[in-house]
Symmetry: C2
Subunit: 391 residues, 2 copies
């Protein structure tokens, strides 16, 4: 079969708040071929990804993403990798292309899985999908008391692991951060797995990050996530050398496999966190998972959006039994919750299992698409390059 169409849908909450919550909008990708339909999602800035899909060519290495995908043969998994390589070559100078490819690649895996009647993880070569231990992922509370209550709430919901991040953490005085981490530990209980996400707040300042190490060690934090921006490999390496029992986690900013490998090789992270909606799709995510295995680094998904994106991000390391933690957003906006017909809910043991169903096993809800759809039109030189498509 060939890739017959690529349609993208900009979905958004009616109001987007100025908080670190990535579930407030999304770009949904629908691909058709051979009578089948596949779905994927691109992380962040839907309008910009739409523009990169349809923009006029600037030169031979700066073509719109769709030019390398539409009409391509999609006969097997090798074709997905080949199409990804084509996009990277033909859109070399189009910075946004990696994000756009991510949703397209994911939709091609979904389509191929549905066409063959097998889950994506089987197409990836995994014999089965091991259950994952979800960690509840939330933003820090406004106050330590609020964080304490959120952590207790996590435990009541059955989560053994919880991650707190963003908000004011790392920005104000040291004592405020200490109080927040202590509150999170208290709320999670002594046996909870506590994870802290600094959201790149210290950019590349090792000294500011280091001051938080004692409280993280005292509170037995498993990982400190994104103390720095993705490019600050030296800072990562220096902090990792000093962080003792607290391992560093990072990698969600990786928009290709090289960046993720650099985080492992030159940044000394203990956990590599990959978002299939940003790294270049499931193809690239699987390559990073393989590399992490070879290097003894633990792979974890990064997901802060819908359960379609969650399924996509889990497929890449579904068959890796050792890497059992998974990010699981528990305070998503209604858009992210309503977007899919199926949901990946914890089982009776509190574990997350991928659907034993064709493709991603998750299908967008037409009603949700209609409800949250944002009308977009892009006109260049008198021609309409994009208009929100019909469902």
């Amino acid at each position: 079969m060939i890739v017959e169409s690529i349609d993208v849908f900009y979905l958004s909450m009616p109001q987007v708040l100025d908080i670190g919550d990535g579930s407030q909008d999304t770009l949904l990708v629908r691909i058709t071929g051979g009578g089948y339909v596949g779905w994927g999602e691109c992380e962040a800035s839907p309008l910009v990804s739409i523009a990169s899909l349809v923009c006029p060519m600037s030169h031979s290495a700066c073509k719109p993403v769709q030019a390398s995908v539409l009409g391509q043969e999609l006969g097997g998994v090798d074709d997905i990798a080949r199409i990804g390589d084509l996009v990277r070559e033909n859109s070399l100078d189009l910075l946004q292309a990696d994000h756009t490819l991510s949703g397209i690649d994911t939709a091609m895996w979904d389509l191929l899985g549905r066409a063959r009647g097998v889950p994506v993880y089987e197409l990836l070569g995994y014999r089965c999908a091991f259950p994952k231990t979800p960690y509840a992922s939330v933003l820090f509370g406004e106050t330590p008391q609020e964080t304490l209550e959120m952590a207790r709430h996590m435990r009541r919901l059955g989560y053994r692991a919880g991650k707190f991040g963003w908000g004011a953490f790392g920005r104000d005085d040291l004592q405020a951060d200490i109080d927040q981490v202590v509150a999170a530990r208290e709320g999670l209980g002594e046996d909870g797995v506590l994870l802290i996400d600094a959201g790149t707040v210290w950019v590349d300042d090792v000294e500011r990050a280091s001051r938080r190490l004692p409280v993280l060690q005292d509170c037995r934090v498993t990982w400190l996530e994104e103390p720095f921006v993705s490019g600050a490999l030296d800072a990562y390496r220096q902090l990792a050398a000093a962080s003792g029992t607290v391992r560093l986690a990072g990698g969600e900013g990786s928009h290709n496999t090289y960046m993720a490998a650099h985080m492992i090789d030159h940044g000394s992270v203990g956990y590599i966190q990959i978002d299939a909606g940003r790294v270049g799709g499931i193809t690239a995510a699987k390559q990073v998972a393989d590399y992490a295995q070879a290097k003894g680094v633990t792979y974890v998904n990064h997901t802060f959006t819908s359960h379609l994106a969650l399924s996509a991000s889990l497929q890449a390391y579904a068959g890796v039994e050792r890497d059992h933690l998974c990010e699981y957003p528990i305070a998503s906006k209604p858009l992210a919750v309503e977007l899919t017909q199926e949901h990946l809910l914890p089982d009776s043991a509190g574990q997350i299992r991928l659907p034993d169903a064709p493709g991603l096993g998750i299908t967008p809800s037409p009603e949700a698409i209609v409800k949250y759809l944002v009308d977009v039109e892009i006109r260049v030189g008198g021609k309409t390059l994009y208009r929100t498509p019909d469902l």
Copy 2:
């Protein structure tokens, strides 16, 4: 003063050809403040950069670029760096933002230079701008004979250094590549400085690249540029260890200072090539120039567009006498030539000198803008987020 307005103009040749010629379109940036006007350019994919300037917020770390610039205090050079940091923080998850910031940062330097009546290189701390030796930068000919004639033409025009790149180089059989390089050397003459640009054609395949080393060494090629994509640091390092007298050059794909530093530290390049229109502007380019000095690596501009972009890229290392080579496009499309009122032409000694004039010393031509302007309109949710502004 404060940044009062940011206007961007999509300019394009009437027809964009499927060749590696980056002079076929551009995104021109105009910034006003305190009664002054500054100009800059963003490299590649104008529509996508426009979208990133005006897109709706996705979350607190994914805001439109203009949100971090408009209304900001612009009292001195530190403010330009501060505004750049704001963009990187507030648009952390907006991949295209680095390209867009590049033109904005450049325009702010131009504006500040004009307001103070001094060239940008003085604002950067350089006492003077040393003349640079231009290398003529062209695409390989269709045949070795065509390449030979282009090289001879370069010499007749007075250039002592020439770079050939892209086209079919590296794609076909080895002999075709050998014939091309030999022809370029013959045309340039024994005393010419010969540079070869592989345009990332071997992605990260060290073996394929290595096969070309003998002819590059035999023809005394000064540098082999971009054998691999920017992220393939291991491949760069391996090839550099085997390349002998031929040094590796790369870095044009760097869209932040970290990537450029990684090319130096982990990729072992001998020449770091930076495009101010992509790396984050003149601020980031100057940081890379300083880092290159400290590491003993030669800095070179990357420029394949207008003389406004050329001036911007030269400012960053204007005061570094040792790094005397500069890329100089000699076969640009009429858009790139007509775009500016002034041009940086070789002097009687064949050298390029930056204007001793306020800002970048180069002003866009209103007639050229009108002639090449592409009408763009972006509507989201019933609102017009962008419409090509009036001159």
